[in-house]
């Protein structure tokens, strides 16, 4: 067995004070395991909310938006290299709706990363039943595509969503709407849009998401029905909803689609600002907690080393008298910090994993959330180890440097 003499001295000092070593390592363990647990909880929760948001939001939504006049019409008219300049451009009213939607959909499908595309007609409406009126909106969709992209089926609590294709004037309403107007499957409901005439529709199903606001306003109708409600023709489409292979690419794909189609493409990140804000706030809270934990762990190490150095100052002087250089002494004490860190770190990673596993089995059963969403994500473990090492080295560095500066003569003379 060939170990470096500095290592041997470091290990001897650690084992000579087993209790303090154990306490310092426990501090590191606690910090690291909490780091892993909280990261897992946060990522799990974030992922859950993200997934939930995709039950109602597409990765990218294409719609027309009022915009400032630009040279694009001029460009297509004068296809030469002349420079086109607009002076004093103004906002242009768009005709609300997408021109040639099915042509655009064909275009979009050609784009490699796109997985699903479906058109939608959104109509703001007033639901009336008896004397009660409530505001809401009707999403005119192709229900089969809609179900494929957003798993509408999983939210169904009554009726059959496919009836939307079969029943003329069928309407699939949110649970909140149903409750407020005391409607059941098979009942009639009057739907009035701003531009069309009141239409009597038939409730063919009731759905419930976890988002109350949606349940209290939204309903699905066949896309043709929605066009009728608005008094528009078959080519009228307000949104094109697009899902892509990996939602993390949504911002980039959205930018491309904007250039391809000339319409506004909003990715889910923009559409869910509040979700992102919540993620950020959670991240801040989490990082402060973790920071404090690691700081405490660091202080544990700092403390034990300072104590060791205080007690061993004479021995440090002897080592230096015998030819141990400053860097050798630094190495002796830094190694002690590192071994405490490694010991605490390894146990911490294991304990962190076990806590995560245990908590992921706690039943909470709130809405569609049965168990706490915990993620088991390897980078968390890697990060925990890196942070652990950094904390340990930082905590060990100052005492070790102090030790390396001990002047042997002053100490030995007494």
């Amino acid at each position: 067995m060939k170990i470096n003499v500095n290592t041997e001295i470091a290990l001897t000092y650690l084992s000579a004070r087993k209790k303090q070593t154990a306490i310092a390592a426990a501090g590191v363990m606690f910090g690291i395991s909490m780091f892993i647990f909280m990261q897992s909880l946060m990522k799990g929760t974030n992922d859950y909310f993200e997934k939930m948001s995709f039950n109602s939001t597409p990765h990218i939504r294409l719609y027309s938006e009022n915009k400032v006049a630009d040279t694009h019409m001029l460009n297509s008219y004068l296809k030469d290299s002349s420079v086109k300049i607009l002076t004093n451009p103004k906002q242009l009213i768009q005709t609300l709706g997408i021109n040639n939607p099915y042509g655009i959909i064909k275009e979009i499908i050609k784009y490699p990363r796109v997985a699903n595309v479906t058109p939608q007609v959104t109509a703001n409406v007033i639901y009336t039943s008896g004397s009660v009126q409530i505001d809401g909106n009707v999403a005119g969709v192709n229900i089969d595509q809609e179900d494929k992209m957003f798993d509408v089926q999983s939210n169904m609590i009554a009726g059959d969503l496919h009836d939307l294709n079969r029943v003329n004037n069928g309407l699939l309403i949110g649970k909140g709407v149903a409750d407020k107007l005391s409607l059941h499957v098979g009942d009639n409901i009057t739907v009035t849009s701003g531009t069309g005439s009141p239409t009597i529709m038939r409730v063919i199903g009731i759905f419930a998401t976890t988002i109350k606001q949606i349940d209290e306003t939204k309903s699905y109708a066949n896309i043709v029905q929605a066009q009728n409600l608005l008094g528009k023709d078959r080519s009228y489409v307000t949104d094109i909803k697009i899902n892509i292979d990996d939602y993390n690419n949504a911002p980039a794909v959205a930018r491309d689609l904007e250039t391809i189609t000339g319409y506004k493409a909003e990715d889910w990140v923009q559409a869910n600002e509040q979700l992102k804000a919540a993620f950020k706030i959670r991240a801040v809270i989490l990082n402060s907690v973790i920071g404090v934990l690691l700081l405490v762990a660091g202080f544990g190490i700092y403390n034990i080393l300072n104590m060791t150095i205080y007690e061993k100052i004479k021995e440090i002087a002897i080592l230096k008298a015998q030819g141990f250089s400053g860097p050798a002494v630094t190495s002796i004490f830094l190694q002690q910090a590192i071994y405490i860190g490694v010991l605490g770190g390894i146990i911490g990673v294991i304990v962190g994993f076990l806590i995560t596993l245990m908590v992921s089995r706690i039943y909470i059963g709130a809405g569609s959330l049965k168990y706490l969403p915990m993620s088991f994500y390897t980078p968390h473990y890697v990060e925990a180890i890196i942070f652990g090492i950094l904390t340990t080295v930082a905590a060990g560095f100052f005492p070790a440097r102090k030790a390396s500066k001990v002047d042997p003569v002053t100490i030995i003379r007494g």
Partner: protein, 228 residues
Amino acid sequence: MESIALKATGINKYFHDPVTIPVLKNITLDVRKGEFVSIVGKSGCGKSTLLYVLSTMDTDYEGTLDINGVQATGKSLNALARIRNESIGFVFQFHYLLPDFTCLKNVMIPGLRLGKYSYKEVEARAYEKLKMFGVEDQALKRADKLSGGQQQRVAIARALINEPAIIMGDEPTGNLDSKNTGIVFDLFQKLAKDFGQTIITVTHDEDFARRSDRIIEMADGEIKSHGK
């Protein structure tokens, strides 16, 4: 011309606590290779202080110090540490072993630090040194479990582990009975005569001093006599 192991020229040293007082006054001193020198003088005359300067541990002095023909004065602390590890064995006035380690480890540590021999060889050599002073049976005991005299012998064994060119002792036999003092003296003499190692010891033991090659007498921070 015989080669010089240690040469000190015009060493002055002051303590500033509470007022500046000179402790070493213009000390000039040559010690030849293989010479066995004793430094004597009244308590408080500056013997330990001088030895710390000569051992390169203390760098806060005026004058110059050459070890084996190389100037030590002005070298970096790390370079001096290397010189001490390789060329100087030091026995402190109050033994000073590392209490958490066994006696054997205490002797081995400077040897492991030097890294010239393998762990096994260092261990064998350390054991052999302990044997020379009759403390081999204590080898695996923790150092703080030994008697004062035993600890001092372990400390001397430790000073010899790297076969240093110069061995310095601050009353290395202060804690020893006459029998063990005799053993240490004979060994020092042998190291000087047979192996050309240079010995510089501070001692209060007149007999010990008289039998060494040369006596340097100090008084009040000055060298009164360089001996023959």
